[in-house]
Structures are given as structure tokens and as C-alpha cells.
């Protein structure tokens, strides 16, 4: 982000915007940024709160009047505490995890079948879905992922296969997260994360892949584990 700002500004385009990690922005010294304390993934702070988002945007735009720079200003407003996770109810009970059973494909499909009505509700309520990166049905993606997991000796060998795997997982995760947050309101993201990584078959599938890739000794597969499982996956 800071780099793009720097290069645009040096080409004559005035820049301002949001910084999520103050230390990184300070080090790179881009022209103007407003640092916010909001969680990663939420640079405008609160979903569905237009007034809150507008205040953040206007504070960042105000930096364009600074007489000299670089400018890194701290935004004074925090996001209010989310409602307690106890008020968030997962709409489904996930099927048993498939580890070691050699039936990943069917377990993933069973989970998708449970989630699908909630995903449909999400699409209806939100009027959109963020599923669609891989360009095929999530059931097909689940079968593809299941086939990989059910054959432990089979590991992706090419960059193209890893790129396809990244897109497969992006859609499966989006489907999962949209389904479990189908009901209105700001989803408590830590609980959404806990459900994925602690309870769901999909989370177990990605953790299993991570362990296999780590054990493979292949540097490319080991590097890929960084885009498989987040650093804080099992914190909750």
C-alpha cells in the first residue's frame, strides 16, 4: 500500500489513505496516511455503518491539506467492542471431522450440503456473494480438494496446481464464511475463525494439507503453507 502511494505521488498524483500497521507505514515514509486501530481486513472499521466509514474517509481526505509531509496521523476513534460471541449462533452442527478416515471428499460434500441453505439465505440477504474466484461449483471444488486429501502420496507439483489450489480454497472458505454469517449483523470475526479452524471439516482439511506440505520437504509446498493457514488459526 505504502509503495503504491509513493510511486503514484512521485508521478504527480496526490495520495492519502488508510494504514493498518503503523510501524510498517512509518518505516516506508509514504506521503500521507491515516493510521487506524481496526482489525486487519477491516480498514474502514465497521461493516454497514455508513456514518462511521464516512468519518474515517473524511479524516484521511483532510490530510491532503497538510502543508508538508510525510504525514502519518493517528485516527482517534476505535471500533466499539463487538457483541459477545455468545450471542452468535452457528446455524449448523458440523459433521465429524474426517482426519485419517480416507473419506475427505464425502465429508467435505456433507458439510457443504449442511451449509448450502444458509449460503442461499446469505446471498438473498446480502444480494451478492464473494464466491466465484475459481469459476466452478463449490461441490466440484470440494471433490477436487477431497481427491487431493484422499491420496496422501499425491502432492501438487507445479505452480499452476498451487495457483488452482489457492483459488479452490478461496471459494470454499468464502462459501463457508458467508453461510455461517448468513444472519444479519456484524459477524464476530474471531468466532467465525474459531468455527472454521476448530470445528469444520474444511478447516481440518486445510490443517491436514498444511501438515503434509510441511512434512514434504519441498520448499515451494512449505512456502505455500503460509497461504493455507493463518498464523492465528488455532488461537481461539
Amino acid at each position: 500500500m505504502s509503495a503504491v502511494a509513493y510511486y503514484l505521488e512521485s508521478a504527480g498524483i496526490a495520495t492519502t489513505g488508510i494504514s493498518l500497521v503503523r510501524e510498517n507505514t512509518k518505516a516506508l515514509r509514504p506521503p500521507r496516511f491515516l493510521w487506524v486501530t481496526f482489525p486487519l481486513g477491516r480498514p474502514l472499521g465497521l461493516p454497514g455503518d455508513a456514518a462511521f466509514q464516512r468519518r474515517v474517509v473524511l479524516a484521511a481526505l483532510a490530510l491532503l491539506d497538510a502543508p508538508s509531509g510525510p504525514v502519518l496521523e493517528d485516527y482517534p476513534e476505535d471500533v466499539p467492542d463487538l457483541p459477545g460471541d455468545d450471542v452468535f449462533a452457528c446455524p449448523v452442527r458440523f459433521p465429524p471431522r474426517a482426519s485419517g478416515r480416507g473419506r475427505w471428499g464425502s465429508a467435505l460434500l456433507e458439510e457443504i450440503a449442511l451449509l448450502r441453505p444458509w449460503y442461499a439465505l446469505s446471498r438473498e440477504r446480502r444480494g451478492r456473494t464473494t464466491v466465484g474466484v475459481a469459476g466452478t461449483l463449490v461441490e466440484t471444488l470440494a471433490e477436487r480438494l477431497g481427491a487431493l486429501l484422499d491420496a496422501p502420496e499425491r502432492l501438487p507439483g507445479t505452480l499452476a496446481e498451487l495457483t488452482e489450489l489457492k483459488r479452490t480454497l478461496a471459494d470454499l472458505r468464502a462459501f463457508h464464511e458467508e453461510a455461517v454469517t448468513a444472519q444479519p449483523g456484524d459477524p464476530p470475526w474471531r468466532e467465525v475463525r474459531r468455527l472454521l479452524w476448530r470445528e469444520s471439516v474444511l478447516g481440518d482439511a486445510m490443517l491436514t494439507l498444511r501438515d503434509r506440505f510441511d512434512a514434504s520437504g519441498d520448499p515451494r509446498l512449505r512456502a505455500f503453507t503460509r497461504v493455507l493457514v493463518p498464523r492465528g488459526a488455532l488461537e481461539d
Binding site: P31, L44, P47, Q53, A66, S68
Partner: protein, 155 residues
């Protein structure tokens, strides 16, 4: 909260590892243009693109064009990092790409107007210098569109 002091050690160390020095002499466009006369483009590094566009590769310094009249339903995310929350983006695209807020600001004459197109990079896995060529290319496109200001959002 992304206060480093609030994060676990491994997360703090990972983020501090990304502290890199300045890219060159300070870049600075002097103020002077009133906000109500500025033509603004949104630029995000959230790995957003139209559903019909090619997804971002694992590492990728190119950008995708987000047409000014793009509807939220046509927007997807193929960011490589898994270390941020996506449920907020699923709930409201403006949380990452505040297009509706900027349409309102244009409507209210707070800003002069919006660019014909907005743009998305995917900020992950590359050193800052990797973005120079595509960012400078983007600057030329913005100038041709009469854009004088870019509003940048990370993810």
C-alpha cells in the same frame, strides 16, 4: 486491534519484519487544490476484481480495473494472504473498498468527482519495489482520466 502491543509475539515479529526503509527521496504533491475540486480514484491492495477477471496469482504486482459503475455483486477477492478477516468484506464491500461512501461524497459535492475507473492490486509476498512499474503505469492512466487524487485502502 492492530496495535502491535496487543498482538501475540509471533504476529508482532511477522509484522515488524515488514518494516522496510523509504523507497527514495520524499514524494510530495503540494496542497492547494480544494477537496471539492479533486477528482478521486480509489486504489486498494485487497486483491479485488470483477468476477469475470482473472484472479490474482500467488504473488502478483499487476492491477485489476474496477469500473466506476461496478456493482458490489460483481466484486470478488483473490488475495493470497489468509491473515485477515474476510467476513466483514462479505458483509459490506465498503469496509475494504469504500465506493458507496465516495459516491455519496461526490453527490454531496464534498469532492469534485470520481474517476472513470478504480483499481486493485494484491499486496502480498513481494517487496515494495515490485509494484513500481505497474504503479507508474497506473499514474499515467489516472492523469489521462483527469484524476489528481488517489485514496488508498489496504486490507
Amino acid at each position: 486491534m492492530v496495535r502491535l502491543s496487543d498482538l501475540p509475539d509471533y504476529e508482532r515479529e511477522h509484522l515488524l519484519d515488514k518494516n522496510l526503509g523509504p523507497l527514495g527521496p520524499p514524494a510530495w504533491v503540494p496542497p492547494g487544490t480544494p477537496l471539492r475540486e479533486r477528482r478521486v480514484a480509489l486504489v486498494t491492495t485487497a486483491g479485488l476484481h470483477r468476477r469475470s477477471d482473472s484472479a490474482f496469482d500467488l504473488t502478483d504486482a499487476s492491477y485489476r480495473v474496477l469500473p466506476g459503475d461496478l456493482g458490489a455483486a460483481d466484486l470478488v477477492m483473490s488475495h493470497s494472504s489468509v491473515n485477515f478477516d474476510r467476513s466483514g468484506f462479505a458483509e459490506d464491500v465498503n469496509l475494504v473498498f469504500p465506493i458507496d461512501r465516495f459516491r455519496e461524497l461526490a453527490e454531496d459535492d464534498v469532492i469534485g468527482g470520481l474517476a472513470s475507473n478504480h483499481f486493485s492490486f494484491m499486496g502480498a509476498g513481494l517487496l515494495p519495489e515490485a509494484y513500481e512499474a505497474s504503479a507508474r503505469d497506473l499514474a499515467r492512466i489516472l492523469h489521462r482520466d483527469g484524476v489528481d487524487t488517489a485514496f488508498l485502502t489496504p486490507v
